[in-house]
């Protein structure tokens, strides 16, 4: 259920926050002109309509994706529109603050809410598509909890909206600043996404600068909501400092001074309530997000891998009795081009029938996320498949990729050539010293300006010249293929 809370907040909280700030600004300006009667209610109604119509449109567009347009295109379109609307909203906010354009503000508010909620609807649908609301059509605990989580999200966001707009109404200038900053944060996320979409559908040429820009935007996009929460917290703190202190009346005060004093006290107590409401809703959103991001959504951690190195004769030997206890024994080997290759050994049967499966910690289908052992089960992290333990060491399905090996004098023997093959299966790079195959210069692999792959090995170059020389005739410079193993191979693999 926690993913519905987190995904709901991630999709809808920015929209709610931005709209609440804008609504507060509009009411503040109308307050100054004495025309705020019923305005807050009207804005709530507009926002509610925007929420219903916008998110319904977003969810429908997402559900129809695949027929008219791909998900990427729909997301891109929605985010580009949101970018445009955000620009318009920025202008409207300044016009509101400095020219008092209340009617314009309301119009832009209506448009902005429609666009933002449509975008949020699409983002939410995209996020929850991996989860199912219920496993069966009959009412069950999971379904109720999930529906409850969605209702709780809506409830918390409604509280956040009410409190934020009240605070923004009291502090229009600070709210304007917060609004601008929050829009900049969101716009950066959207711009990164739109660029990625353009690259994906091929409307924009792929260049290394654009890719790195998109990668950065994507990397930081998950932090956007935390940035907005911090902004909200700062606004709340300022509000608390600026609101009048609650002063109890002394017994002597009488007459109209007493009435005024009571009114001031009631006002101040009311403002404190708003502060508490804002702080509580921000804390709830932040708490749910942190719980999800730091705990619930964390992939299961791999058990540590024991680093190994091959002996001088080019073979790695592991005594069978050290790995025959039925648990997963993970090892890591760093290839000559710096890839960290994980592999594991496990007894496929029981203590009486020792048959060691020797496999890479990667799957042909799912990649190099690896496998974990939980209780008696071996699980592929990427696809959650349980692996039938006796079948480890055989290819097929989601089984770990088998490694060639031999059993000699009670030891598992793996050739260096086999371990080096892992460099094309694993992406994790370790910083090591490598030699430029052309010039022979030593350099650090992760900082090499040029690199290329040849026959499953990565080569690093100190400069363009040696890179070009290598590309022209790779055979000449490539490392000698490692001698095949001279031991008798297990016929099974």
């Amino acid at each position: 259920m926690s993913f519905y809370l987190a995904d709901g907040f991630r999709a809808f909280a920015p929209a709610t926050f931005l709209l609440a700030l804008l609504a507060g600004l509009i009411v503040a300006v109308a307050d100054r002109r004495g025309r705020s009667e019923g305005l807050a209610a009207r804005l709530s109604l507009i926002a509610a309509f925007g929420l219903l119509a916008g998110s319904a449109a977003g969810v429908t567009a997402y559900a129809w994706s695949g027929e008219a347009a791909s998900v990427t295109e729909i997301r891109m379109f929605a985010e580009a529109t949101a970018l445009g609307a955000a620009l318009l909203a920025l202008l409207a906010a300044f016009a509101l603050r400095f020219a008092g354009a209340v009617l314009l503000g309301q119009l832009v508010f209506a448009l902005f809410s429609l666009v933002l909620f449509a975008q949020a609807g699409i983002a939410f649908s995209d996020a929850v598509t991996a989860h199912s609301l219920t496993a069966t059509s009959v009412l069950n605990t999971e379904l109720i909890l999930n529906v409850f989580a969605i209702a709780l999200t809506a409830f918390a966001l409604a509280g956040l909206a009410a409190a934020t707009s009240h605070v923004a109404r009291r502090l229009p200038l600070a709210a304007l600043l917060t609004f601008v900053l929050a829009i900049v944060v969101e716009a950066l996320v959207w711009a990164g996404d739109v660029t990625l979409g353009l690259l994906q559908v091929g409307w924009l040429e792929v260049t290394s600068g654009r890719v790195s820009l998109v990668a950065k935007a994507d990397y930081y996009s998950d932090a956007a909501i935390y940035a907005e929460l911090v902004l909200g917290l700062a606004l709340a703190a300022l509000f608390l400092m600026r609101s009048p202190p609650a002063r109890r009346l002394s017994e002597e005060t009488a007459g109209s001074a007493r009435t005024e004093g009571r009114k001031a006290l009631a006002f101040s107590l009311g403002e404190r309530r708003w502060f508490r409401g804002l702080a509580a809703s921000l804390a709830f959103v932040a708490g749910s997000m942190l719980y999800y991001d730091l705990y619930a959504a964390q992939p299961p951690a791999l058990s540590p891998a024991e680093p190994v190195e091959v002996a001088a004769d080019g073979y790695l030997r592991i005594p069978v009795e050290t790995v025959s206890d039925g648990t997963l024994h993970r090892f890591a080997y760093v290839t000559s081009d710096g890839h960290r290759v994980r592999f594991f050994l496990i007894n496929r049967f029981d203590a009486d029938h020792v048959a060691i499966g020797v496999v890479f910690d990667a799957c042909m289908i799912c990649g190099d996320d690896g496998y974990i052992q939980r209780g008696n089960e071996i699980i592929c992290i990427a696809c959650n498949v349980r692996i039938f333990q006796p079948s480890i060491g055989k290819p097929g399905g989601c089984n770990p990729i088998p490694m060639k090996h031999a059993v000699e004098d009670g030891r598992i023997v793996i050739a260096k050539a086999e371990l080096e093959k892992g460099s094309r299966l694993f992406t994790e790079l370790v910083e090591i010293e490598v030699a430029d195959p052309v010039t022979g210069e030593t350099l650090i692999n992760t900082r090499a300006p040029y690199s290329t792959e040849f026959e499953g090995r990565t080569y690093y170059f100190s400069g363009r010249d040696s890179y070009d020389t290598f590309r022209a005739d790779p055979q000449k410079f490539a490392a000698e293929p490692l001698a095949p193993a001279a031991v008798h191979w297990d016929p099974e693999v």
Partner: protein, 436 residues
């Protein structure tokens, strides 16, 4: 101040509050009983769908044509069509071959059984079930694959030893049959096929406790059953156990119609270990067979609940609406009676929201108390219904308490909509004068 006003109100007007609590308790009793019934079955179904292991039943295609009328199977092909035993290794040759943990073929035969030493009468008819116990199957790439009922039905217990694989003179006897006929391990039985033929002497190696129909049957190596029935090299059905991943939306859609998926979805589905994907691959491997996942709860109680779910919802809604109306009229009377008090509060500067909060607070307290009482009574009622309808007790799902309390608070809130309008309509001057 707020809590003091609330306690005062309950102390002064406890009769009306009690009536309201009873109303809500009545409605929630009904809601609890229906909800716990439905949620219990729903949870069991969800667990079944989310299990990491599944059983698959494979039968000849002609048998999967449903022709059951009034519980009687009218399919003329039942028991006539067979699967080839030689095809079984193909099941271990599908894409998810490594996830197939075991398979057991079955071939039932009716035989006349006589116990040696009972005299030479014709004997009585019993069912003999031919299967694998622990048989090595030749599968390319996994020479050590051993399978049979000892893997697929690991919960079967044997008192003695399993018959030797391929032996034509060893059987195991179901616990029920053994008790009725006083058969013990080591006894010699004489089995004769129905169509005549020479009776065959077999030794009982053990007594099997299976907890199912097998308890009344003789379990024999497949070869013996084939020999007795004359269906050499044939099996009637196969049970397959597989390691799977929980069902989700994609696999549900695929189960409904695999051709309705687009290419990318089809690949994802085919390359994920959903039970539906494995079933699909078994059918691809054995073209004349029909495979089906076995979902015990979904196929029995789930069907019943699925059909009456809407009815339950309507009943629950009716209970909700009628009790909300009762609460509404009770609260409205309270507001009218306390109009002077409300007028005074208004005159002192209380906002409409503050006064409403008082009444809503009352309603929520009433809702929670009534809901908890109703949940307690409803839990008992659910047990009665469970025993009479399904013949088994119902595990009370804890979530029902949440549902019922939220439901009864909602009843109370819905009931206070009308009173809140009444409060808004009260003018301090009029009420303090006593005009209203």
């Amino acid at each position: 101040m707020f809590s003091r006003l609330l306690t005062q109100s309950f102390r002064r007007d406890w009769r009306r509050k009690l009536l309201a609590i009873l109303t809500i308790a009545l409605a929630t009793t009904l809601m609890t009983a229906l909800a716990s019934l439905s949620i219990d079955v729903g949870d069991k179904m969800a667990r079944e769908m989310k299990a990491y292991g599944s059983n698959i039943h494979v039968v000849p295609k002609s048998e999967s044509i449903p022709l059951v009328i009034g519980g009687v199977d009218y399919n003329p092909l039942t028991g006539r069509d067979f699967l080839q035993e030689a095809d079984l290794p193909k099941i271990k040759d599908i894409f998810w071959r490594n996830n197939i943990t075991g398979l057991s073929p079955f071939l039932p035969v009716k035989v006349a059984m006589t116990r040696a030493g009972d005299g030479g009468d014709t004997g009585s008819e019993v069912q003999l079930l031919g299967t694998y116990f622990k048989k090595p199957i030749k599968v390319e790439g996994s020479e050590d694959f051993m399978t049979g009922v000892t893997t697929t039905n690991a919960f079967w217990r044997i008192d003695g030893a399993w018959p030797a694989e391929g032996a034509l003179d060893e059987v195991a006897v179901g616990e029920g049959l053994a008790r009725n006929r006083a058969i013990a391990a080591g006894d010699t039985l004489s089995l004769a096929a129905q169509d005549g033929g020479a009776p065959r002497k077999v030794t009982v190696t053990g007594i099997v406790t299976a907890g199912g129909a097998e308890d009344g049957q003789i379990l024999a190596p497949l070869a013996l059953a084939q020999d007795l029935s004359g269906h050499v090299g044939k099996v009637a059905s196969v049970d397959v156990t597989a390691l799977t991943i929980p069902e989700n939306d994609l696999s549900r859609r695929a189960r409904h119609d695999p051709s309705g998926l687009d290419a990318e979805e089809y690949d994802t589905w085919y390359c994920s270990a959903y039970v539906s994907a494995i079933v699909h691959q078994i059918e691809e491997a054995l073209p004349d067979a029909s495979a089906r996942p076995i979902w015990q709860v979904a196929d029995s109680e789930g069907v019943v609940i699925g059909k009456i779910q809407l009815l339950m919802l309507v009943v629950a809604l009716a209970a909700f609406a009628s009790s909300a109306m009762v609460i509404s009229s009770l609260l409205n009377t309270a507001v009218m009676e306390r109009s002077r008090e409300i007028g005074l509060m208004k005159a002192l500067g209380a906002s409409r929201a503050a006064i409403l909060a008082l009444f809503v607070g009352e309603a929520v307290v009433i809702g929670i108390i009534g809901g908890l009482i109703g949940a307690a009574i409803g839990a008992g009622l659910a047990q009665v219904i469970g025993v009479t309808v399904f013949g088994s007790a119902i595990a009370f799902p804890a979530i029902v308490i949440l549902v019922v309390v939220v439901g009864s608070v909602l009843i109370a809130l819905a009931g206070s909509i009308l009173p809140s309008r009444t409060i808004a309509g009260l003018a301090p001057v009029e009420t303090l004068y006593g005009r209203r």
